[in-house]
């Protein structure tokens, strides 16, 4: 996807977000609504003006270097999936198991590290987070299985 088109889509999303927030604000009582209502109306108007401006620029090709600058989509998406998978693992199995599995698989698969250094790195991290938890009372996310 080219950058110019992505910017149009994102601005359209921001416009919809502000507009929806303005409509939602109308359901609040008078004293609760004045701040979010004015903010979202201002945001909505600005987003609309900016959206029209960039659509015209896109059509007129006034900034071809930006228009044809391609954005990577699949590669970032792959790493976003890694983050989501780690959180899912924590949610199901708990911090210790999830961290062990995530770190080990990531280091072998993505970082191309050898098995022994990977095991050592994971062990050091586990000791560190366990120590932090015990020493300065840091809480870990709760999990379905209760680990």
């Amino acid at each position: 996807m080219n950058k110019s088109l992505a910017n149009i889509l994102f601005t359209a999303f921001i416009f919809i977000l502000f507009t929806a927030a303005a409509f939602e604000a109308l359901t609040f009582s008078r004293l609760a609504q004045f701040f979010p209502l004015y903010i979202s109306i201002a945001g909505s108007v600005l987003a609309l003006i900016y959206l029209i401006k960039i659509i015209i620029e896109h059509i007129k090709e006034t900034s071809p270097e930006e228009r044809y600058e391609q954005l990577q989509i699949l590669k970032p998406f792959r790493y976003i999936v890694w983050v989501l998978a780690y959180l899912l693992l924590i949610y199901v199995f708990g911090m210790l198991i999830a961290t062990t599995v995530f770190l080990f698989v990531f280091l072998i698969w993505e970082s191309k590290m050898k098995i022994l250094p990977s095991i050592l790195s994971v062990a050091v991290m586990l000791v560190l987070i366990t120590y932090l938890s015990a020493a300065i009372n840091i809480a870990w996310p709760t999990s379905l299985l209760g680990f």
Partner: protein
């Protein structure tokens, strides 16, 4: 007063008390180093241990920790582009680009030196303002506080970058996200969608970590690069210190901004670094703020440590805490058999003066310790992204979870993180969003109180007019201030 100050110095220099101060310093640096942990976490950790302690020892421990949090938080801000605490957000703007050019040591040398000087100025300000604190603090009521939030919001416009449209929209988006939760004027929840987590609003550490850290980790993995894009690490600690000395007037100006913001309870310390950064950007000639200008590190780092001295004035003398950290400090005072109030400058003056000395000494020792640690820690910027990011992600997840210890924190981390990533890719500025978020609740609260209490008469308050003129002056380019800024600040930014 001078004799009392000398007596207090000898009390603080007692070896046992110094030992406790060093323990506090060590904990403060670790808390600052780990993204997501704040001074509140550090205070909550130490509080149980001060029960029944000699007040001098207890205060050495607590103040030693508070004093250096904004020194230790510089490491992740510069090396990884992730704010260690909410007080080091603005340091990222130029600190991280410097690290990308292999100049992390220079940036950290300047940052730690300025943190030390700022902290010492904060301590001196605490000492000097003890006799005049009351009229100073009571001169700020809700209209003036509202104008201060407007001053903070005007920084969003200044940090908009090339597109003012994008910057203002990002600021408005921050204000909108900040209005999630309970309304300050009436008992009513907004934008909570029947979710219990959102009734308390979205917490600042989660937003700050997500908006800066998430894009960094995805970008580092996608590009397969190290933080230092040159692949080398230049020695530059001394150069950074020299840069700071060369920009001494900027250091002092920023520290004064920090102290003044610290004095005012209710504004919140999270905005102090942005204000100092914005002032620096507007008052320094020929600057390249945002592109790796060392003066963009000097300004916020001088201010965030200085703020601590200022914030202790309302806390100790009036029992008005300006933040979660100082609120717990008040609890600590009670546990040690003390009470905040006017007696802190009469019968308990020696305790107050020992706090001033502890603040000054902890800043000096904390900065020295961090300078020693620069060399080993800055090697982090040479580790390839795919090897450091998984470990970073583990720490970020744990850090984000500490805000309210709810899964909602992690969901928000991902949502705001994705928003931050798209904004980064499409060149939308992220700092205005954070400034808007930080100031949303204060802006609404003080506006509402001002209108309810004074109608529209508050607009004619002299201090309100002064602050309004200051905002107009800053937004119109700060040309006059630039004219008077020292010649030495016009060079050597890069």
């Amino acid at each position: 007063m001078i004799q009392s100050a000398i007596d207090a110095l000898f009390i603080v220099l007692d070896p046992a008390r110094l030992g406790y101060m060093f323990l506090g310093i060590s904990i403060g640096i670790v808390v600052g180093l780990l993204p997501g942990l704040s001074g509140t976490v550090g205070m909550a950790l130490l509080l149980p241990f001060v029960f029944g302690l000699d007040p001098y020892i207890g205060m050495a421990l607590l103040i030693g920790m508070i004093a250096v949090i904004h020194t230790g938080d510089t490491f992740p801000s510069i090396l990884l582009g992730i704010p260690g605490t909410s007080g080091s957000q603005a340091t990222i703007m130029d600190g991280f680009p410097l690290a990308q050019r292999g100049q992390a040591s220079r940036a950290m040398g300047a940052a730690f030196f300025c943190s030390m000087v700022g902290g010492v100025i904060g301590g001196i300000a605490l000492f000097l303002t003890i006799p005049i604190a009351e009229p100073l603090i009571t001169s700020f009521s809700s209209p003036e506080l509202f104008m201060l939030t407007m001053l903070g919001l005007s920084m969003a416009g200044m940090l908009a970058g090339k597109s003012v449209f994008k910057g203002v929209m990002a600021g408005l988006l921050g204000l909108l996200i900040g209005s999630v939760g309970s309304a300050p004027a009436v008992p009513e929840y907004r934008y909570t969608f029947d979710t219990l987590y959102l009734t308390q609003g979205i917490s600042l550490p989660v937003v700050a970590i997500a908006i800066f850290a998430f894009p960094i980790i995805i970008t580092m993995l996608t590009d397969r690069t190290t933080v230092s894009k040159t692949g080398e690490l230049q020695n530059g600690v001394l150069r950074g210190i020299k840069d700071s000395i060369k920009n001494k007037f900027l250091v002092i100006r920023s520290a004064v901004v920090g102290v003044l913001i610290g004095f005012i309870p209710g504004l919140g310390g999270s905005v102090v670094d942005w204000l100092a950064y914005g002032f620096g950007k507007k008052t320094v000639k020929n600057n390249h703020f945002g592109e790796g200008d060392i003066r963009g590190v000097i300004a916020p780092e001088s201010a965030n440590n200085a703020k601590e001295g200022g914030s202790l004035v309302p806390t100790l003398l009036f029992g008005i805490p300006g933040s979660g950290t100082t609120a717990i400090l008040l609890g600590g005072l009670t546990l040690m058999g003390l009470q905040a109030g006017p007696q802190m400058i009469t019968s308990d003056l020696d305790i107050t003066l020992s706090i001033v000395w502890t603040l000054v000494l902890a800043n000096v020792f904390g900065a020295a310790l961090c300078i020693i640690l620069i060399k080993p820690i800055s090697k982090l910027s040479l580790i390839p992204g795919e090897k450091i990011v998984p470990f970073l992600l583990v720490l970020l997840v744990i850090g984000a979870y500490q805000s309210t210890m709810s899964w909602g924190d992690l969901v928000i981390f991902v949502i705001i993180g994705l928003l931050g990533y798209v904004m980064t890719v499409l060149d939308w500025p992220r700092p205005p969003l954070l400034i808007g978020f930080v100031l949303a609740m204060s802006a609404e609260r003080y506006y509402w109180i001002s209108i309810e209490r004074y109608g529209w008469d508050w607009i004619s308050n002299p201090l309100v007019i002064v602050l309004a003129l200051l905002i107009v002056g800053l937004l119109s380019g700060g040309a006059i201030m630039k004219k008077f800024s020292k010649q030495v600040e016009t060079k050597g930014g890069n």
